[in-house]
Amino acid sequence: MSAVQTFVDLLAGRREAAALAPREWDGVIGVARSEAMLPTLAHRLDGADLPPTVAALFADQRAAAAVAQRQALWEAEMARRALAPLGIEFVLLKGAAYAAANMACAAGRQIGDLDILVLASDIRRAENALLNAGWEWVKSDPYDDFYYREHMHELPPLIHKSRDRMIDVHHTILPRTHRITPDALALVSDAVTSAGGFAVLNPADMTCHCAAHMLADGDLQGGLRNLWDFNLMTRDFAAADPRFWEQLDVRARLHGLRDAVQRAARMSRDLYGAVLPAGWNGPETTDRWFRQRLVARDDWGRVTRPLLEQAFYIRSHWLRMPPTMLAQHLWTKWRKR
């Protein structure tokens, strides 16, 4: 059995950690690291019967992830200190939101840049407030800067000069040029307050964003992690609210993300064993390609299907841009290589 399959089975609970041969851990740990999910696995297997050195490594990973999450949430606090005096409200997105809301998928989850969503009408003031509070532009070339401002759903990334951490300020959740245009106003106005005091998307919108981020926006880099987020959040949201799946369908239609959300649900069923309600189990032959993209790693953590990876990279741009713009963009990027 391949290491990535074993890794997925361990997360899904289909396989017992104690049943692994000692050397099988090499590949599992290698794949988990490549997917930036080793601390997630360490949390999933906390208390399991593990070889002593693996148990020690996992304890290290859990402790380090707890430190890293504090650091990430501090960025949210510093953004609040910069924006609140001007009356600019923001919604936390992705990893920081999951941590602020103390969700199951936050356990051990790596949080990269801070992602926040503000109303489009506030974005210039937010930019100024952050620049005054010590953030500065990441040095980038004029084409990238122009590209961000004209076409993306966020400001060019800002980095804090003393803390050396990045913030991405979004005004919607997909690029302006994308074929799908989610309702950004609804996302902000229907946000909810998390246990940690920060605003986060409501459960259905958060799930839509997770699916959009994984399937509609990216090239499926980090797909196993995003799908694990999706799997745990839908499980817990549905347990807390029996009408969750209906509401998810309503919001997915509103944002134009029904296909992405349904595909994510089927994939979380196929990989992580999620149980879906009636009406969500439809067959879809193209899921196979997405699944293969997600599990294309060998037991040294290397991507095994470069052509499939390349195809998804082009697809991600195809979705984001009209065709002539895509050609121009890839040409400009290629000339810089």
């Binding site: 050397r23 740990i29 490594l57 430190v67 650091q71």
Partner: protein, 288 residues
């Protein structure tokens, strides 16, 4: 990967895979005397690979990868594959290890008490440790020293010592040629030759030692000893640690304890013999 080896250095079990046989057989020779536990899962993975399949044979150049990757790292020619492996192992430990506070420092021990030497490359910390390790000290490591946050003890990371330039001849004059690896001339870091630590240093690699003296050596200039305050030592060691920030309060506690309990000195020395004499002089004063 086709060619691979498992190596345990201190608390870290490595798995190193390579597209070529040469770097692995070189590692097999350097690490033949290290304890082997083939059933133990690896903590860290290093990959030495060709960027394109044909580059295994045509002008073969070794890319360094693994759990952590430096995006812009330049590949090395296959003749320097052993250096690539060493850099790969250092990289994985520097970026991935979380159990202990990692200091970019060499260390030697006597009577379970540790002398820790921190400095930039060129400070001579590696050479001093190698030379002391040939005398009546136990070599703990020439590159990394680990501090256990719970006990405050120093732990050894005695990888094969990386001797550079003039240090090669100085050490080669004192040791059995069988303990030296192949000479790699003209690498990006100068001439390099590895030294296999003495058998007792490898056998005792899991023995902790109490930090007793902290030195910040500087090669060149007249012999001088300058006591260093706790604050300056703290600042220098945060800069010398690759995982201080990632350890959170455990790292803060370990480092404040280390600089409070361990006398620290800056040391300048014109040559290795003077350096060793200054070390012994300071040790005699603090280790009474």
């Amino acid at each position: 990967m086709r060619h691979n080896i498992r190596i345990a250095v201190g608390p870290v079990q490595f798995r190193i895979g390579s597209d070529w046989a040469e770097p692995i057989s070189a590692l097999e020779q350097l690490y033949a005397g290290y304890p082997q536990d083939d059933a133990r899962p690896a903590d860290a993975t290093v990959r030495l690979f060709a960027a394109r399949p044909w580059r295994r044979w045509v002008r073969p150049s070794v890319h360094i990868g693994g759990d952590f990757v430096v995006p812009d790292a330049l590949p090395l020619p296959l003749s320097m594959g052993l250096l690539a492996a060493e850099m790969g192992m250092n990289l994985q430990v520097a970026l991935g290890w979380r159990r202990h506070m990692l200091l970019h420092a060499s260390a030697v021990a006597r009577d379970d008490r540790a002398l820790i030497m921190s400095g930039e490359s060129g400070s001579g910390k590696s050479t001093l440790a190698a030379l002391l390790g040939e005398g009546d000290w136990r070599l703990m490591g020439d590159e990394f020293t680990l501090i256990d946050p719970a006990s405050g003890d120093a732990l050894a990371f005695p990888r094969a010592v990386s001797l550079k330039n003039e240090a090669i001849a100085a050490v080669a004059a004192q040791v059995d040629a069988a303990r030296l690896g192949p000479l790699m001339a003209g690498t990006p870091k100068g001439d390099i030759r590895h030294l296999i630590p003495r058998a007792d240093a490898i056998a005792d690699m899991h023995e902790p030692a109490r930090p007793t003296l902290l030195l910040f050596p500087r090669f060149g200039g007249a012999a001088a000893i300058e006591p260093m305050g706790e604050g300056e030592a703290f600042v220098r060691l945060t800069e010398a640690s690759t995982n201080y920030v990632a350890l959170g309060e455990a790292g803060f506690a370990a480092l404040t304890r280390l600089v409070r309990e361990t006398p620290a000195f800056g040391v300048s020395y014109p040559d290795s013999a003077t350096g060793i004499a200054l070390v012994e002089q300071l040790w005699a004063e603090v280790a009474k």
